[in-house]
């Protein structure tokens, strides 16, 4: 611990250089609401902390061609206050708004939530459902990675040494599209998801679903997509038969554990229920 150093680079190149050249364990600091807890408990013992928040543009939200660019270090409180983003992606915004207390919201970020790589991270299923891409920068330049390809297991990501996430891109939503995120927790606030479900969908003028994406959290080592659930509701007006198939498809992809928050059976059942409910909310929001 006594050898820990701290640096706050002021450009992407400087940050990449520091990360790529670091001796020992280098850790990115965004909001610190996971990292500093783990630092204090001794669960992580970095040699260097690289605070990205002084990199220009890494905090803040820009609307670009009808889509959105969210800087990796943007606090979730700022995300919740963005009217345009809230209208276009209410599911992503409500998921990021569920992370922790007011105090945590003032600091926590999408990049930290994703790269901490907890199966229960609230914003991740919503981002995956919304087809968010992470812009990863590193020694070999910049690449756009679908969010579902970042986490590879609990606490593990696909980022290579020297790489970090600079920003997230959310595409311009097709007309009559919306999204929703629901989680189950035993309390009403300040708890970790037992199951989380993100749904994003598009309807046509007649209210028929033309596109859908469903992602689950906390039911497997990583977030999981439910392609059969999407197929089950595409072409429908989300009638009971379609919802029943969605419920079954969501249950089928679950590979959860039993812990103090919920048993395997409970998690599987709730995944089906929340998938139906989140789809119903997204459908109404989309104008279906």
């Amino acid at each position: 611990m006594s050898s820990l150093s701290y640096t706050a680079p002021t450009s992407v190149n400087e940050a990449v250089g520091i990360l790529a050249g670091a001796q020992g364990l280098a850790k990115i600091l965004s909001g610190g609401t996971d990292l500093l807890v783990q630092l204090r408990s001794g669960r992580t013992k970095p040699d260097i902390i690289v605070d990205t928040k002084k990199i220009p543009g890494i905090m803040g939200i820009r609307e670009v061609d009808g889509g959105f660019v969210i800087g990796a270090a943007t606090p979730c409180s700022v995300i919740g206050e963005h009217a345009g983003l809230s209208a276009a992606y209410p599911g992503v915004v409500e998921a990021s708004g569920l992370i922790g207390s007011t105090q945590v919201q003032g600091r926590c970020t999408l990049a930290g939530n994703l790269c901490n790589a907890s199966p229960a991270a609230d914003s991740v299923p919503a981002m995956i459902a919304a087809r968010a891409t992470a812009i990863v920068v590193g020694p070999s330049g910049q690449r756009a990675v679908p969010v579902e390809q970042i986490v590879t297991g609990p606490g593990r990501t696909s980022l290579a040494k020297g790489e970090f996430i600079l920003e997230f891109h959310l595409p311009k939503p097709a007309p009559h599209s919306s999204d929703a995120y629901l989680r189950f927790i035993p309390r009403t606030e300040m708890d970790i998801a037992v199951v989380g479900v993100g749904v994003s969908l598009t309807v046509d003028a007649a209210g028929v679903i033309t596109d859908a994406r469903i992602a689950l959290g906390a039911v497997a080592p990583t977030q999981v997509l439910v392609p059969d659930g999407a197929a089950a509701i595409i072409g429908s007006k989300l009638d009971d038969a379609a919802l029943a198939k969605l419920d079954a498809a969501a249950r089928a992809v679950c590979n959860p554990i039993t812990d103090k928050r919920g048993t395997i059976d409970f998690r599987i059942k709730i995944a089906g229920v929340l998938a139906r409910r989140a789809a119903t909310i997204a459908y109404k929001r989309a104008g279906g």
């Binding site: 150093s5 609401t33 605070d51 207390s101 007011t102 105090q103 003032g106 300040m190």
Partner: protein, 158 residues
């Protein structure tokens, strides 16, 4: 290990201190600046006893590094009253007996001030959700919420 020099603003006054990389802002406030109003209940972001306002946002100072205070504007519980005059939120906490041991009180007052600066007319539900990250093991919260709602009403001139 060389210490890092940090220049910041605390309660409206320019401040500077030396910190080691792993030290939290809470450590600095309490042990270096001798501002011991902010409390450490958990050190892990769960209790809110360490709440301070940093650049207009209430945060847990136990989950901010001291070095991150560089160039920031920080308000602690010591900066809430106007000299000898208590802030309405402080006065209402006393009037409603919204504390017993008082360990949670600085954090609750700082968080309440941040709420009312942003939303002068919160519903009780909004106030309860806003303060969900401030734990109190004594009062049962009811008197706290009454103090918050009453302070909000007074500050609106209602």
């Amino acid at each position: 290990m060389s210490k890092i020099h940090v220049t910041t603003t605390i309660n409206g006054e320019p401040a500077e201190f030396l910190t080691e990389p792993q030290m939290s802002l809470l450590d600095i406030l309490r042990d270096e600046m001798h501002l011991t109003g902010s409390k450490e209940g958990c050190g892990s972001g769960d209790c809110g006893a360490c709440s301070v306002i940093m650049d207009g946002r209430v945060v847990c100072s136990c989950l901010v590094l001291g070095v991150e205070a560089e160039g920031k504007d920080i308000t602690t519980i010591e900066g809430i009253a106007n000299g000898e005059d208590l802030h309405p939120v402080q006065r209402k906490f006393l009037e409603h007996a919204a504390l017993q041991c008082g360990f949670c009180t600085p954090g609750l007052i700082v968080a309440t001030k941040a709420l009312l600066d942003r939303n002068p007319d919160p519903t009780e539900t909004e106030a309860r959700y806003w303060l969900a990250g401030n734990l109190c093991r004594c009062t049962g919260y009811d008197k706290i919420i009454r103090a918050v709602m009453d302070a909000a009403a007074e500050m609106r001139g209602a």
